[in-house]
C-alpha cells in the first residue's frame, strides 16, 4: 500500500510552517518514510532558496537618495554641493546614511560639528554617527552660545582651539514668532552658510549650505554671491516676516536672552 502522498500545496505550507501542529507532525513522519516525498520537498525548498538568494543582494546597494529625500522633511535638508541635496535625519538611521567623500564630507563634518558641538577630526570620525543628530542644537554647545550672544557682523572663534569661526549676518523674525539668525561658519577652507531659529537660547538648525565664499568672514563683509547665497536667500525670503532686525533691536534681544 502506498504511503499517503502530500500535495505541493501541503509541502509548500510545510516549508513556511503554516500548517497546524498535527499536520506538521504528520508530514515529518511521512518525510522520514518516503524518500521521494523528501526529494520533492527539497526541490521546492531549493527553488525558494534560489529566489531568496537571487534578490537578497539589493540590500547591499545604497538606497537611491531621491526616494530618501521624499521622506525627509525639507526644512532639515542640507545642501552641501550646488544642486546636490543630502538629507539630514533627525533620528538614528545608520543603514540609510549616504556615503560622502572629499570636500563634501568635510562640509558635512563641519555641519555635524556645529550641530553636535564637536569639531575637527572628532567630527570627521563621528560622521558615521551623524545619523543620530537632532536638528536641535544642544543649549550649551559653542554654536548655541555664539548665536545667543554675538551680534551680527561680529565674527568669533568657537570651540576652544577648534579653528571654527562663526559670523552671524542677519536676524529676522519668522511667521511663528521665532527669531532666526543667518550666519556663516568656517573651518579652514570649508565654509557653510546657515540659518538657525529658536527662542530663549534653544536653537534649531533650519538649513545649511556649503559655500566657497567665506573670505568675507575675516572682516565681517560678504563678498561675491555664490549659489549657496541664493539658496539661503530664497529660504530667508520665504520665512521672514517684516524687515530684518536692526542693530539695536538685535542687541535688545541678545540682552534679554532671546
Amino acid at each position: 500500500m502506498n504511503a499517503m502522498t502530500y500535495s505541493d500545496d501541503m509541502l509548500s505550507a510545510y516549508l513556511d510552517r503554516e500548517l497546524s501542529p498535527d499536520e506538521m507532525t504528520a508530514i515529518d513522519t511521512a518525510l522520514a518514510r518516503d524518500p521521494s516525498l523528501q526529494a520533492r520537498l527539497d526541490e521546492l525548498w531549493r527553488a525558494n532558496d534560489a529566489v531568496r538568494n537571487a534578490y537578497a543582494g539589493i540590500a547591499n546597494e545604497p538606497m537611491p537618495e531621491r526616494v530618501i529625500s521624499m521622506l525627509t522633511p525639507n526644512e532639515r535638508i542640507a545642501v552641501v554641493a550646488p544642486g546636490k541635496v543630502i538629507p539630514i535625519f533627525s533620528v538614528k538611521r545608520p543603514t540609510l546614511a549616504p556615503v560622502w567623500s572629499g570636500a563634501i564630507a568635510a562640509s558635512v563634518a563641519l555641519i555635524a560639528g556645529l550641530m553636535i558641538g564637536v569639531y575637527g577630526m572628532d567630527a570627521r570620525n563621528n560622521l558615521g554617527a551623524f545619523a543620530a543628530w537632532s536638528d536641535e542644537l544642544p543649549a550649551n554647545s559653542p554654536l548655541s552660545v555664539a548665536l545667543s550672544e554675538i551680534a551680527s557682523g561680529e565674527s568669533v572663534s568657537i570651540g576652544g582651539g577648534s579653528g571654527v569661526r562663526v559670523l552671524p549676518i542677519l536676524t529676522f523674525q519668522a511667521e511663528d514668532g521665532a527669531y532666526c539668525r543667518e550666519f556663516f561658519a568656517s573651518h579652514g577652507e570649508n565654509g557653510v552658510h546657515c540659518v538657525a531659529c529658536g527662542a530663549k537660547g534653544n536653537w534649531r538648525m533650519e538649513i545649511a549650505a556649503r559655500t566657497t565664499e567665506h573670505d568675507g568672514m575675516q572682516d565681517g563683509y560678504r563678498t561675491a554671491f555664490s549659489s549657496s547665497d541664493r539658496l539661503i536667500g530664497d529660504f530667508i525670503d520665504s520665512a521672514m516676516t517684516g524687515e530684518a532686525l536692526g542693530a539695536e533691536a538685535e542687541r535688545a534681544l541678545i540682552n534679554q536672552g532671546w
Binding site: 526541490e43 527553488a47 534578490y55 521622506l71 511667521e175
Partner: protein, 177 residues
C-alpha cells in the same frame, strides 16, 4: 514655520528596505525596482492610508497595484544585461559573477510565472510575510496564497532544473566546425 517630521514619513522610511526588496523581486532589475519603489512612495505620500491602517500591508498592496496596472499593462520592461554596470567594486570577483548568474537564472524563471504568482512568491519568500499577512495585503483568500505559492515554487523548480540541464548539455556538446 517648521513642520514636524510626520510619523508617517518616518515609518515609511523604516519600511523602505522591505519595499525595495519586494520591488526587486517583482521586476528582477535594480533600476526598474527602484523606479517602482519611487512610484509607490509617491502614491503613498499623495494618497495617504487611514491612520489606523497597517502601513506595511498598505505599502505592498499599493506597490502590487502599480506594478500590475501601470508597468505590466504597458508592457514596460527594460532588458537588463548580465554585465550591467553596478558601480560597486567587485570585492569578491567570483562570488559576484556567480551572484549575477543566479539572478539571471532566477529572473528567467520568474519572468515565466504569471504575475500573481510572482507577487505572492516575492511577498512570502522575500519578505517573509505570513500567509495571513499576505492574504490581507493582497486581498485574496489564504487558500489562494497557499496554492499560488506552491504552484510558483513547483514551476520554478522545474524551470531551474531545465536550465541547469540545458547548460550542462551546452557544456558537453561537441564543437561544430
Amino acid at each position: 514655520m517648521v513642520e514636524k517630521s510626520g510619523a508617517f514619513e518616518e515609518e515609511l522610511l523604516e519600511l523602505l528596505p522591505r519595499l525595495r526588496r519586494f520591488c526587486f523581486g517583482l521586476t528582477g532589475a535594480r533600476h526598474d525596482g527602484d523606479d517602482l519603489m519611487q512610484m509607490t512612495v509617491e502614491r503613498l505620500l499623495t494618497k495617504r492610508p487611514p491612520d489606523d491602517a497597517n502601513l506595511a500591508k498598505w505599502m505592498f498592496r499599493v506597490c502590487r497595484n502599480i506594478w500590475i496596472d501601470e508597468i505590466r499593462a504597458r508592457g514596460v520592461r527594460r532588458t537588463e544585461e548580465i554585465n550591467e554596470d553596478t558601480t560597486m567594486p567587485a570585492i569578491n570577483g567570483e562570488k559576484a559573477v556567480l551572484d549575477k548568474i543566479l539572478l539571471a537564472e532566477v529572473n528567467a524563471a520568474m519572468d515565466n510565472l504569471p504575475d500573481e504568482y510572482r507577487i505572492v512568491l516575492s511577498l512570502v519568500a522575500l519578505d517573509g510575510c505570513s500567509y495571513k499577512a499576505a492574504s490581507d495585503a493582497l486581498e485574496i483568500p489564504i487558500g489562494t496564497v497557499m496554492s499560488r505559492l506552491a504552484r510558483a515554487r513547483g514551476a520554478l523548480a522545474t524551470m531551474l532544473a531545465m536550465q541547469r540541464q540545458s547548460s550542462d548539455h551546452a557544456a558537453s556538446a561537441p564543437l561544430l566546425h
